[in-house]
């Protein structure tokens, strides 16, 4: 029984500098993995490796035991990546924004997605009028609308008010209950006491000045 996502001594190089090396991890079904580490330690980079956006400079990434390098598609189709940026079109309404991604992933439930973050009231508003937190909620709504096994969240809690933070937490709990896997990079703890944490800073190359 393989874990949904695991990596063996992954190496990451950004630009021409080594960010981390020999990083191993494994996220079982129904588990949450917290990525911590100081700024610039490579959390975002690691998440991008996991999402298959960047290829690792070394080591292997496995999706249910299969090397992602061999079948990238199978692994991609089952992943949600929530990044620093929000891919929101300000000309489209909130609903249209979400609906597009649903279509692209071949189905899902828009309304329940909006509902999960209390966006139904704003559904018909052009996304340009959204505040920072409302935008973030629209991004996160993808998680609820489209189902994928592995969630990769890069500082998901940014700009969220307490209520939305609560709904995010519930969403994650529910996802894990369904046997999904969640990997979240964050500085403020999301309050998952039982979650495994991985400090990316440990894998920084030796003798590097702390940025």
């Amino acid at each position: 029984m393989y874990p949904p996502l695991s990596g063996e001594n992954l190496m990451c190089v950004r630009g021409d500098r080594l960010v981390f090396n020999g990083l191993c991890f494994s996220v079982g079904a129904g588990c949450v993995l917290m990525l911590t580490g100081r700024n610039g330690s490579g959390k975002t980079s690691l998440l991008r490796l996991m999402a298959g956006i960047m290829a690792p400079a070394g080591g292997t990434l496995r999706y249910y035991g299969i090397d992602c390098h061999e079948n990238p598609n199978g692994h991609r189709a089952d992943i949600h990546y929530v990044a620093h940026y929000d891919a929101i079109k300000s000309a489209l309404t909130v609903r249209e924004n979400l609906a597009f991604w649903v279509e692209l992933h071949g189905g899902g439930d828009v309304d329940s997605g909006l509902d999960a973050f209390g966006l139904l009231a704003l559904a018909e508003l052009p996304a340009q009028f959204l505040s920072a937190g409302q935008r973030r909620r629209l991004v996160l709504a993808r998680l609820a609308a489209i189902d994928a096994g592995v969630w990769l969240l890069d500082e998901p809690s940014v700009a969220l008010d307490t209520a939305s933070l609560e709904s995010l937490r519930n969403l994650i709990v529910g996802h894990c209950a369904d046997g999904g896997a969640v990997i979240a990079a964050t500085h403020s703890d999301l309050g998952f006491t039982d979650a495994v944490t991985l400090d990316v800073s440990h894998f920084a190359p030796k003798g590097q000045v702390a940025p």
Partner: protein, 239 residues
């Protein structure tokens, strides 16, 4: 909502003006066309084609007049932030495009017999073409923002900048030697046109102005309604 306080007064005024302006403009244009086409004499050299003038010249005047009023109300909206001024300027633009187009079209129709070509790139014609583009630019800019307020402000600035073009159009015929003929009616001294031609001309001009007024009232009205609807929607959408 608070923005709509005095537009309401405008609405009341508009309701009073509308029937008069609408009917009167129809009457004037009708009478003017009749005089122009059947009563007024053909020109001794231009023959019947001179009748084009009765559409061409008034529409040309309107093209300039509408832009002027647009520029003025833009200035008002920028200085005193008067919401109504925005609406008026915005509502004027399409009318102006219409008249400018008519002026261009009739002009080139007239140019074929008179100058032997549809179009010459002389100062007058070119500056009017620029006016046409300015109108289009104004409309495009006004609609280019999700936030209507911003659109109004930006296009107001554009309208003011474009106002530079007005004197150029007006005096191009005097500054450069153009094919196009200089002002003969709108001269400071007495008009150099026979009254049998002058009357239909003025009637048409008057009718066109009333037509402009009518459209203005109608469009501003619908703009206000649209703003109201938008507010209600947003209020329903909530925070």
């Amino acid at each position: 909502m608070h923005q709509l306080a005095n537009p309401n007064r405008f609405l009341r005024l508009g309701r009073a003006v509308l029937p008069w302006s609408a009917s009167l403009s129809l009457v004037c244009i009708g009478a003017g066309l009749y005089l122009a086409l059947f009563v007024s004499p053909p020109d001794y050299q231009q023959k019947e084609t001179v009748r084009i003038m009765y559409v061409h010249v008034p529409s040309a005047w309107m093209a300039l007049f509408v832009y002027t009023s647009m520029a003025i109300s833009s200035a008002l909206s920028l200085i005193w932030k008067h919401p109504l001024a925005d609406l008026i300027a915005k509502a004027s633009a399409p009318v102006g495009v219409g008249f400018t187009f008519i002026c261009l079209a009739t002009g080139s129709l007239w140019g074929k017999p008179m100058w032997g070509t549809w179009w010459v790139w002389d100062a007058r014609l070119t500056s009017v073409l620029i006016l046409f583009f300015l109108y289009l630019g104004y409309i495009a800019l006004n609609n280019a923002f999700e936030d209507p307020v911003r659109g109004a402000k930006a296009s107001a600035v554009l309208a003011l900048v474009g106002a530079v073009n007005l004197p150029i159009i007006k005096f191009s015929v005097d500054w450069w030697n153009t094919l196009h003929q200089p002002a003969s009616v709108t001269r400071l001294d007495t008009p150099a046109v026979h009254s049998s031609m002058l009357w239909p001309l003025l009637l048409m001009a008057f009718g066109f102005s009333l037509f402009y007024l009518t459209i203005l009232v109608l469009r501003v009205r619908s703009e206000i309604a649209a703003a109201k609807i938008r507010n209600i929607q947003l209020a329903e959408a909530g925070g």
